[in-house]
């Protein structure tokens, strides 16, 4: 259950930022790194992890009770092609992805009630979430489905974990008619919690 405490509501003004984690693996399947981004305009330090600011947006996140897969499309700025270089030299398909929402109260700075205080830490502009009243919760936890790349942006489609249950078993071919039924049962899609269509 998600709860939003009064922690951040007492002043009537809140800020909302999102943290994005995308797991990257080497082509041999071993873990490589986790890309950590935020849609905040400066670095975010959360739970001793640093998130890089980048122009990143996502479309509506819909949750429903039926077992169809939920997908989110992230659009990430690709103008500097730094992210592209990382994506092209890593395996990203079917890896984990997570979106965390943080709601916090911007800290006052001098005369400005909801000012830009606490922007500098460790010598450069960053927001340390532990320094401000905040609430955080996971709004999406899934896997990376596919990626579209253009000069200006990278579109990443994330699917919920249930998308794995709707993928057909890879087929094999046999030249023996006697095993037709066995073969059909091996190649039929697996459905979870739903009746198999005729």
């Amino acid at each position: 259950m998600k709860t939003i405490t009064n922690n951040v509501r007492s002043n009537g003004s809140i800020a909302i930022i999102h943290l994005f984690e995308l797991e990257m693996k080497n082509f041999d399947g071993t873990y490589k790194e986790t890309l950590q981004f935020t849609d905040n305009d400066i670095f975010v330090n959360y739970d001793n992890e640093e998130y890089t600011p980048i122009q990143i947006t996502f479309d509506k996140c819909v949750e429903s009770v039926d077992m169809s897969a939920n997908t989110i499309q992230l659009t990430v700025d690709n103008l500097n092609t730094e992210l592209l270089a990382t994506v092209l030299e890593s395996e990203w398909r079917n890896n984990s992805a997570r979106i965390t929402r943080i709601i916090y109260t911007p800290k006052a700075n001098g005369d400005y009630e909801f000012g830009n205080g606490n922007m500098m830490k460790d010598g450069y502009p960053q927001l340390d979430v532990s320094d401000v009243a905040n609430d955080s919760y996971n709004i999406f936890n899934g896997i990376i489905d596919n990626i579209d790349i253009s000069e200006k942006s990278i579109n990443v489609n994330l699917g919920s974990r249930f998308v794995a249950w709707n993928k057909p078993y890879p087929s094999q071919s046999y030249n023996q008619r006697a095993f037709t039924e066995v073969i059909e049962s091996m190649t039929a899609p697996i459905y979870w919690g739903r009746s198999v269509p005729a």
Binding site: G12, I14, L79, N80, P106
Partner: protein
């Protein structure tokens, strides 16, 4: 990262500022309360800095600064009004980073002085290693020079010239602030020349336009668009002596012609169908035409 404070702030006339402090929205609940959702920690500012009657030296310095930084971030501290840019107060000089948005100037032949503005937008690409290591900014502007003097050999001088640029650099932004700029290498100078000519010179210019008009005809043009910005001397620039004018009255900057000494001619062409002219009752022709920098031979 270069600090352009002195060049940009030098001799500016006035500012016009548009500012976004807290970008966000207010959600109204049916109970009458309001939930304000704030986005962004850093204020965003677009500032138009205007200049009146700059000397040629001051203008060329500003123009060079723009061309070198048309697609890169730079530092600028608004010296007279530090309160305008709160980033300087909270982050220091390395937080006061900007990008150029526009550059437009006009020079009158009569005065040979330059009036115009530059427009800056706040950037989030701060001059701290943690930010700078995310990306390399590589300016690519490389004008092509030529020895073709066919245009300046006409010796037909405009009464005023407007200076501007055309660019299709890509810009990513967060909120109202710039984030990265990608230099596509297609920054072009544009000169808009206005003439007031008698018939003989008018036909000379018109004939040249018809010969060179369109994409195929290129020629050389000086940095400031003309070899001499003025045919009429209201005061003797080139003959300043102590008996006529005080030394302190006329700046050395004015004692020169429109062609910056030692500067090359840049390859350019007429913009398609850019000539407009009409004839006044006293047989004087008024002509406007646009010249665009060219990259092809």
């Amino acid at each position: 990262m270069d600090n352009l404070t002195n060049i940009i702030i030098n001799k500016n006339a006035h500012y016009e500022v548009e500012e976004w402090i807290k970008q966000g929205e207010a959600l109204k609940y049916s109970g009458g309360t309001e939930q304000r959702v704030v986005r962004g920690s850093i204020p965003s500012i677009t500032i138009q800095i205007n200049y009146n009657n700059l000397s040629q030296n001051d203008y060329v310095n500003l123009q060079n600064a723009y061309e070198t930084h048309s697609a890169t971030t730079f530092i600028c501290k608004l010296i007279d009004d530090p309160e305008i840019d709160q980033r300087f107060t909270n982050l220091g000089l390395n937080g006061s980073v900007w990008v150029f948005k526009k550059f437009e100037f006009e020079a009158l032949a009569r005065s040979r002085l330059f009036t115009g503005f530059v427009e800056l937008t706040t950037s989030l690409f701060f001059n701290f290693p943690q930010y700078q290591l995310l990306m390399n900014e590589m300016p690519k502007y490389a004008p092509i020079t030529t020895t073709n003097t066919s245009f300046i050999d006409l010796e037909v001088e405009p009464k005023s010239i407007k200076y501007a640029y055309d660019t299709s650099n890509l810009l990513s932004s967060m909120g109202q602030s710039a984030r990265y700029m990608k230099d596509k290498g297609n920054l072009f100078r544009i000169w808009t020349l206005s003439y007031l000519l008698e018939e003989e010179n008018f036909f000379k210019l018109l004939k040249f336009y018809r010969q060179k008009g369109g994409l195929m005809g290129t020629f050389g043009i000086p940095l400031l668009g003309t070899q001499f910005l003025s045919k009429v001397d209201y005061y003797p620039h080139n003959n300043v002596d102590d008996n006529y004018v005080d030394d302190g009255y006329v700046d050395d900057d004015y004692v020169d012609d429109g062609h910056v000494e030692g500067s090359p001619l840049f390859l350019a062409r007429f913009q398609n169908e850019s000539i407009q002219y009409n004839k006044s009752v006293n047989n004087v022709y008024m002509i406007d035409l646009k010249i665009v920098e060219s990259r092809t031979i």
